[in-house]
């Protein structure tokens, strides 16, 4: 231990300022462990993408491309009309965002700008609990309540599953997500900007629209992206309430039932026996997965570009 002490005669030496070797080893070990965990998660993602691409590649090489642009999605009969799935997915996601966008943003504005602290303290956790409702519950709700009471009564559609019912159901599912992330983004806008605005004689709604929302736009966009990704990837609600049980023929009418990407995969993947063995049925699953990946990825890129253009950094 004597070499770690200051030399009593000659004062400070390099030796006395050297790192304790045990401490240094421990530090390195911790760093390597944490680096290892980061590496593992990257590796897993890489493997997922690899398996997705390789099987999808087999499908794309071997498939008769005429059957990828056909009347509907009937993989067991060798008819893989991909536009049926993509269009159905986009319709459901679009409807979901029409429902969740205004509702979620309105709730966020209320909570962040208007609600008294006590109200906010009560409502925010409730909202976050809502985000944890299992999607199978909402799927059932969409099929049993939204379809007969909203789709049939208001829009004259079928009381059974339809893209509209599924879209509204997914919308309800992502409202808490949109509201919660948007509220966080708006709360993060400095109070001093609100004070500056009201000091100039701006009303609360003016301050919100012209100061808070522009300053929070990157967070709002993040909320939107997360919600869209969630809506595109949502499986249970669209499978239960989207009318997948009845039909898989191409349609772009929201009042009809159809098969979004995720529901298409689910309906194929019920039990491995029914998937493996019949031509390209198994590989088509990965092709659909790849399409889902591409759509979500493209959306993220577009949204990111948009945020960079309109962002007001504070």
């Amino acid at each position: 231990m004597s070499d770690t002490r200051v030399n009593p005669a000659g004062g400070l030496t390099v030796q006395s300022l050297k790192a304790n070797p045990r401490q240094a080893r421990k530090e390195r070990l911790i760093r390597d462990c944490l680096g290892g965990t980061a590496l593992v998660s990257v590796l897993i993602s890489g493997l997922i993408i690899w398996s997705l691409f390789s099987e999808a590649w087999t499908f794309m090489v071997e498939v008769d491309w005429g059957s990828v642009w056909d009347i509907g999605w009937f993989p067991r009969r060798g008819i893989y009309d991909i536009k049926t799935l993509i269009v159905a997915s986009l319709i459901v996601t679009g409807i979901a965002m029409i429902v969740a966008g205004p509702l979620g943003l309105g709730a966020a504005i209320y909570l962040s700008e208007y609600a008294r602290p006590g109200v906010r303290r009560t409502l925010k956790p409730i909202l976050e609990i809502l985000a944890g409702i299992p999607s199978v519950v909402l799927g059932f709700f969409a099929l049993e309540w939204i379809a007969p009471n909203v789709v049939k009564t208001l829009f004259g559609g079928p009381a059974a599953g339809s893209l509209l019912a599924a879209g509204i159901g997914v919308g309800v599912l992502v409202v808490p997500l949109v509201a919660s992330i948007s509220e966080d983004a708006m709360k993060a806008v400095p109070m001093s900007l609100r004070e500056a605005s009201s000091g100039l004689g701006a009303r609360k709604i003016t301050t919100t629209i012209r100061v808070v929302l522009p300053a929070a736009v990157s967070g709002l966009m993040a909320a939107f992206i997360v919600a869209v990704s969630r809506a595109l990837g949502e499986t249970m609600v669209v499978f239960m309430a989207g009318g997948a049980a009845q039909t898989a023929v191409y349609t772009h009418d929201p009042l009809e039932g159809s098969l979004p990407l995720t529901a298409g995969m689910t309906s194929l993947a019920r039990g491995t026996d029914s998937v493996v063995g019949e031509g390209l049925t198994f590989q088509s699953l990965f092709f659909v997965g790849l399409m889902l990946f591409v759509v979500t990825f493209a959306l993220n890129v577009v949204a990111d570009r948009f945020v960079h253009r309109v962002r007001e950094q504070y």
Partner: protein
């Protein structure tokens, strides 16, 4: 408007106020703010007790005192900025040009359009320089045409001695300006809506001495058109620029055992700094306390 006040004001300070008035150059002698027995509470906590003083037109009134003495709280009452804090409550009389601004019929938004505010930390919007200045006029619907708005922007920046520095980059973000420039931008932004009064809450505390000197010069220039009330921690600043000074201190309230802001003395600035009547003021301005 008179309903709140019975006949002649019983306040003994009135005659003295008139005499003090005559000695201040520039001043029109008109009263801008009449504060009487002002109490401000945050929940159960009393932040300011029974402040009584008068702010006169086209003067610079300074509020000085140690931290926690309630001077900023009083300042934020003048344009009802305390309304933004849900638990804040104001009692007593606060008349702006003889109108009690805490009357339930008064809209705080209308008050704030007439009483501008500059904050401690420069707080430009994350928008362009032009849009920062144009914000108020746009919100208040002051300019109908683009050319009118351009005129207001140029005039405001000119008055805040910032035009020459930014005229070639009006479309650039205001956040690219230096701290001193940002604060002058905030002053220009407040002036753009042509307010009657300018409230300044330690406007130089985040600035270096050169930027501070520029802001002080600016205040001297614009005080012919505006009444200015400034909170400052810097006693030299109060002595340099203000016509009148209010000295606040924090005093232990014996009933609640909490510290509460108290207006100790209000007078001409020369008097406060050379011949104060209260010992606490003397101790503070000579640096023996605070």
């Amino acid at each position: 408007m008179e309903q709140a006040e019975p006949e002649a004001s019983p306040r003994l300070g009135l005659d003295i106020d008139r005499k003090m008035q005559a000695a201040v150059p520039n001043s029109t002698g008109d009263t801008v703010f009449e504060v009487e027995d002002l109490n401000v509470y945050y929940g159960d906590f009393r932040a300011v007790q029974e402040a009584t003083f008068t702010v006169y037109e086209h003067e610079i009134t300074a509020m000085i005192g140690p931290s926690g003495c309630g001077k900023t709280t009083v300042l934020r009452c003048f344009n009802r900025m305390n309304d933004l804090i849900p638990i804040a409550r104001v009692e007593g009389r606060l008349d702006f040009r003889e109108v009690p601004i805490y009357d339930p019929r008064v809209d705080p938004v209308e008050v704030r359009r007439r009483i501008g505010m500059v904050f401690q930390k420069p707080n430009p919007f994350p928008k362009s320089i032009y849009d920062n200045i144009a914000f108020g006029p746009r919100v208040c619907g002051m300019a109908k045409k683009k050319s009118e708005l351009d005129g207001i922007v140029e005039q405001s920046l000119n008055r805040a001695a910032l035009w020459d520095e930014v005229k070639d980059r009006l479309k650039d973000s205001a956040l690219g300006l230096s701290g001193g420039q940002q604060q002058r931008l905030c002053i220009a932004r407040a002036i753009a809506v042509d307010p009657d009064v300018l409230l300044m809450d330690e406007p130089c505390s985040a600035l270096d001495p050169i930027a501070t000197a520029r802001i002080e010069d600016l205040m001297q220039e614009i005080k012919n058109d505006y009444t200015i009330v400034i909170v400052t921690h810097n006693m030299q600043q109060a002595a340099r620029i203000s016509n009148r000074t209010a000295f606040f201190t924090a005093q232990l309230d014996s009933t609640t055992d909490q510290r509460c802001g108290l207006l100790v003395e209000y007078d001409r600035t020369e008097t406060i700094f050379s011949n104060p009547s209260d010992e606490r003021t003397e101790n503070y301005v000579t640096g023996r306390f605070g």
